[in-house]
Amino acid sequence: MNTPGDRPFSLARMAAVFLKELVQMRRDRLTFAIMLGIPVVQLLLFGYAIDTDPRHLPMVVERRADGPMVRSLIASLRASSYFDIIAVTDRAGEGEAMLRDGRASFLLSIPEGFEERLVRGERPQILIAADASDPVAAGGPLGALDEIARRALAPELIGPLAGLAQGPPPYEIVRLRMFNPASVTAFNIVPGLLGVILTMTMVMITSIALTRESERGTMEALLATPVRPAEIMIGKTTPYILVGAVQTLLVLIAGRLLFAIPFTGSLGAFTLAAAVFIFTNLMLGYLISTVARTQMQAMQMTFFIFLPSILLSGFMFPFAAMPVWAQAIGEGLPLTHFLRLVREIMLKGGGYADIWNDLWPLLVTLALFTLGALARFRRTLD
């Protein structure tokens, strides 16, 4: 009649915890309302974000001409604090590839015969393409380019070329904003906000999953039953996937209605990325709840995670402009990868093929959090 509880994993017991959690979630109206209210409020608050003044953005130079002027221009760019030249190439298409996959934020293209045409007074074009899916990053440096080029070339325009130093510059700078041509800040902020909201609410909600049971005294009875740690873990986290899904939908709809944010990529890829991200955060929260002794501690630890997520993920400041140590921390944050995934999919039209680079780090952290939580779970009350 009573099968002993030696089954390593029981779907029925997991379902018991899942259903219980679902009912409790439904009863806790205030929390439920807050979880759905947060996305809307945050969206309105952050939707019109402030510009910042980023520096040291990675630039790739596609050089199809050479000469003293070109060398001087590149040297000036190197010297400027706006750009870090990460590569100089003469192969067509390579620069654009780097721009697309996010290694470079800018592509500077110097056309063939640049110097000859300049000397002939033909006003050759210098093309600068910016990854404007992060418009904060793209804005300032684009404006600075005029000045950098003028100063770089002025010393060359002497002697017979002195005449070219008068009037309009003897070249033309063509700016190209790619991926977000109108450079709307909300385009970048809103998808980023989705990640921030999910990080905050998902981690917070599961961070009290176990501490709440301990504090209310229900843990003792729960542990006295045959229920296993993995069953508790899955049963307690999965109900909140629904909440995360609703939040995601809310942000997408509000983003569309309020800020007319386009959705250019694959919906399937987006769903996959969002699901993995939501689960990663739920597991992170659950891991916290296996460590924290009280709900208060759980909240403090949540904020301890939340702050770097906001500051170092590329949400507040352009990732490429951050110092190396900050980037290293940022790479370890789930939000960093999710932001890239969302921008890639929503603004750059990415599909399944484009998400792997940032999906696998998420999957690895998810696995680590899960194993960590299982290892930390206390089967006894000591």
Partner: protein, 308 residues
């Protein structure tokens, strides 16, 4: 099969913050027995019960519970044990039915619905099954928790003060039920502070300051302690009690309504002490059997002397 005891642990020790809260306690509970677990507040009853069902890891000691090792095989014990915690440990934000349903699911009961219905019926809560558990009165919470711990018809019941705050009628029903279970071979270890419940047990283990002082069938308890008692009646009992307390040869002075029970381990010393008040007008002194209550008050007083 019925030869092996339901609980057989020895040397169980638990240390909290450098203090031995439970100190080398042995416990042998035969199958089908109703074992009373007594002792003053903070003596280590709850801690011992938790170690027996695998909720606390003992710092020393070993043993078996339902034939399974209490340390290595806690999982197997849990499936066949019902544990009622001292503190209410059901979900206040779930309804009565949802709570029972949750527990029944955790034990993977195939006839879950029928069992939950029956439990509600027996509790007399069928009509209020949708009420949130948190809104129940204290006694009803207790009765619900008890029902939840028994829903999977366990072989062993570990009940930590199950009837605290429960009314006399419900307590009587509860003990009737425990005896019915016992007849079917279910073993019960129950902690209590009520003497009228202690006498319902087959045997009693008494612990104080983490050490077991007494472990005997209920009928032998008084004889083991060897307490002699006298009944004092008459006017001015308060003054008499005051005069007797602490006198040589007197271990216990306990007031029962309009009577005073006076007890000591040395019969002649007891009578010598009582001679001092025998002459007061209207006061009568007669012999009585030492009761459980005097016995335990004596044990507690003795343990204070020994360990403090």
């Amino acid at each position: 099969m019925s030869e092996a005891p339901a609980i057989a642990v020895e040397g169980m020790t638990k240390i909290f913050g450098g203090r031995k809260v439970v100190d080398a306690v042995d416990l042998t509970v035969p199958r089908g027995a109703i074992y009373g677990f007594l002792g003053p507040n903070g003596s280590g009853k709850t801690t011992t019960i938790r170690m027996v069902c695998g909720l606390l890891r003992p710092d020393a000691g070993r043993g078996t519970c339902l034939g399974h090792d209490v340390i290595a095989d806690a999982q197997a014990i849990k499936g066949r044990t019902g544990y009622m915690t001292q503190r209410f440990s059901l979900y206040e934000d779930l309804s009565i039915r949802e709570n029972l349903d949750f527990v029944a699911r955790l034990y993977r009961l195939s006839d879950r619905r029928a069992r939950v219905d029956r439990a509600l019926e027996e509790l007399g809560l069928a009509a209020r099954s949708r009420q949130l558990a948190g809104t129940l009165s204290g006694g009803w919470k207790q009765r619900l928790a008890l029902a939840a711990s028994m829903i999977h018809a366990p072989d062993l019941l570990l009940l930590d003060e199950p009837t605290a705050g429960v009314d006399p009628k419900a307590r009587r029903d509860f003990w009737d039920q425990i005896r019915k279970f016992s007849a079917r071979g279910v073993t019960t270890l129950v902690s209590t502070h009520y003497m009228d419940e202690a006498v319902q047990c087959d045997a009693i283990a008494f612990i104080a300051y983490g050490r077991k002082l007494l472990d005997a069938p209920i009928a032998e308890v008084q004889a083991r302690v060897g307490l002699f008692a006298r009944l004092v009646r008459g006017p001015g009992l308060d003054a008499i009690a005051e005069a007797l307390r602490g006198a040589a040869g007197i271990a216990v002075v306990a007031r029962f309504g309009a009577e005073l029970h006076v007890a000591g381990t040395d019969e002649s010393a007891l009578d010598r002490a009582l001679a001092a008040i025998a002459g007061r007008p209207g006061v009568t002194i007669g012999p009585i059997e030492a009761g459980l209550e005097e016995t335990f008050i004596h044990l507690m007083a003795q343990s204070t002397d020994t360990f403090r």
